[in-house]
Symmetry: C2
Subunit: 459 residues, 2 copies
Amino acid sequence: MQKTSNSLVDTLRHRRQKLANLINFPAILWSGSINPRNFLANHFPFRASSHFLYFAGLPLPNAAIRLEAGKLELFIDDPHPSSALWHGEMPTCNEIADKIGADSAKPMAELESRLEGAATIPVQDAATWTQQSQLLNRWVLPQQPPQEIDLELAKAIISLRLTHDESALTELRKAAAVTVAAHKAGMAATSKAKLEAEVRAAMEGVIISHNMTTSYNSIVTVHGEVLHNEQYHHPLQPGDLLLADVGAETEMGWAADVTRTWPVSGKFSSTQRDIYDVVLAAHDACIAKIYPDVEYEDIHLLAATVIAEGLVDLGILQGNPQDLVEMDAYALFFPHGIGHLLGLDVHDMEDLGDLAGYEEGRKRSDRFGLGYLRLNRPLRPGMLVTIEPGFYQVPAILHNREMRAKYENVVNWQRLSQFADVRGIRIEDDVLVTHKGSEVLTAALPNATSEVEDLVIRN
Amino acid sequence: MQKTSNSLVDTLRHRRQKLANLINFPAILWSGSINPRNFLANHFPFRASSHFLYFAGLPLPNAAIRLEAGKLELFIDDPHPSSALWHGEMPTCNEIADKIGADSAKPMAELESRLEGAATIPVQDAATWTQQSQLLNRWVLPQQPPQEIDLELAKAIISLRLTHDESALTELRKAAAVTVAAHKAGMAATSKAKLEAEVRAAMEGVIISHNMTTSYNSIVTVHGEVLHNEQYHHPLQPGDLLLADVGAETEMGWAADVTRTWPVSGKFSSTQRDIYDVVLAAHDACIAKIYPDVEYEDIHLLAATVIAEGLVDLGILQGNPQDLVEMDAYALFFPHGIGHLLGLDVHDMEDLGDLAGYEEGRKRSDRFGLGYLRLNRPLRPGMLVTIEPGFYQVPAILHNREMRAKYENVVNWQRLSQFADVRGIRIEDDVLVTHKGSEVLTAALPNATSEVEDLVIRN
């Protein structure tokens, strides 16, 4: 029986008891090792495996936990005596064990005697998955779907992590609040900024000042049509829209993921406003539709419909909106899914491929409009998802000969050319499914054009 | 013959011609791969191997170059057609080859036919050194000293990278300038900051806004006595000194490395000022002594002497300063080396162990005062080194029973207790060895107590 009692200990005990109800074999989760950058002592910031974090609570490098029947065994070496000079006094193995309510604490070398019959999940860094493979005497590979007991373990963990407990939600709300502040700072910094990098600095500065990290590499770009743009060197021009997809991650690893798009000048052009309002209408319609038991794919198709309707109204698409959705014509301009799971990972549990995102028995569609959908499950209370419709003029799509031929009659290309100042718009919020419907964790960040303009201009 | 002519092409051609003068076998340098963080698509920012960067000029992931007799062959795959959707139009293999003046450009798969007799240097990430080992059919391990032709190659590259050409110096000056601005911003942000993290944010914000990265994980701490402190959660108290060791790295990978220590209140206490001035005297004396042919170890010992003298004057140490240096008593308070090489890595070429830092035939001392010295060579024009004396009250040293016994008679422990508000001070600049002596690349950042106080208080 645990003697210590605090919320972290209680949370972790509760999580592993739930796991014990689902599997009848031991699970060993490694935290991962530190990735060297230039050389051993110049390394990337440590990020523990999310599965480890979920059950161990603390980002401990070079550690493992063994979970069986609700018991937690911690494996971690005491700090080397000489490390006190460089790193200060570090907690001992036993002190850490107390903090997380472990039933026992042993050096890593003793893990070897506790491996039998244990399932695991591969950690991303090669040093660790190599070690996992060697110790368990089978391949444990991050890019390969788990098999047998590893698959059973993955499914059990997914069923826990799919919906968030109160402790997780407390962290996710913190990440959301700091992310909201970061976006406001980014808008406020725009009028004085000459480069994308300067707006990025203002946004990440807020995240760093709260002792958090970014949960993914920020996108802060006037080329929103490049969906995963990690360049920040472009100058800001008065007619540009700036798309910022930036999220904070708490010290314990919980993520936010938010996008706003605002005019560099502080004023949307009429064409920018027209498209923005279509995207916002899709965003609002989707969030209004989020309830338990609703299929997330239907949320995606709702966004598709609202976008198709809006583009028909603007004369960019022509035809019946429902037909345009069925032929994936909307995806010319919205070529990604409406969102994804969010939790300890920004695409939560994507290390397990589609195991978490897709309900058992479902597979990715090969349709142009559905193939990029990362989540295809009925919604359940406690799930946190992003809602992130967008509109992009991606040259690789719009200049593609096959695409142009296929959609020749439904796109008014001449009308489209009048919207050349809209390269990319996305509006993304983090939405918790509740028993009554939904709660937008990032609701404090405005998204209406007039409010966004105010935040940009005010400075 | 090269047709393109620009400074990057010329610089790279010059570097590989110098390499060709030193070795008569081919060298293959890999750039390294992207380290996944949570999952494959959520990765750490890419950092190319420094040896690759030196000869290839651009941070290209998953690439290799083969150097032989002054010729450069580039191996890199063209971007996958589908990547244009997510990453935009990327340069082709041939476009990159033009940019860096490569003599040929081929897909990675063709590297296999060009391996014979080639030397290499291991890249830090396991995916890459595993690939290097497999392709070359021998172990190529980052933590193992290079052998045979790999050792010859390492020595040849070291002899080039030890002194910087004009192109490198241009980059190093950029990194230094942004680092100076970052430190000024950190000082300016202190009066309004409540946490270490907020000062860190102000400093890293400047670096990000210039589209640079940090060249190492920042140290911004009121616990300067923890030498490699990567925690930022402590509150700032009026009596604290804040130690900030923060450096920028340019897009091409060139680093700066600067430390300042300032009073949170904007005013040094008299004890803080006394110790600060001892450290500053050591700093200034060392820089004044930097000339070609001077032994860097002598610079370290000069710092030791000035610190010993200063601490004798303050009554903390007692005895003859020269004796105190010989018995390593100064190292109780200055337990690291006076500095290191600086270039593409913050500890330049430390991936090769002491091969770069130590002149051939020299080894690390086992003396307490000299064992942490990272550079032990005669200085040469074009070398960039840090000068970073410090004073720390490290509990692991000062509370160590053996240490206390050994230095019982030379430390006035009672007098020392009056300096309890000085936990850690370091002053670090980046100093280029010139033909005439030296040039401090970071000289624009003040270090005198009154100037530092002004910068903190002005805001």
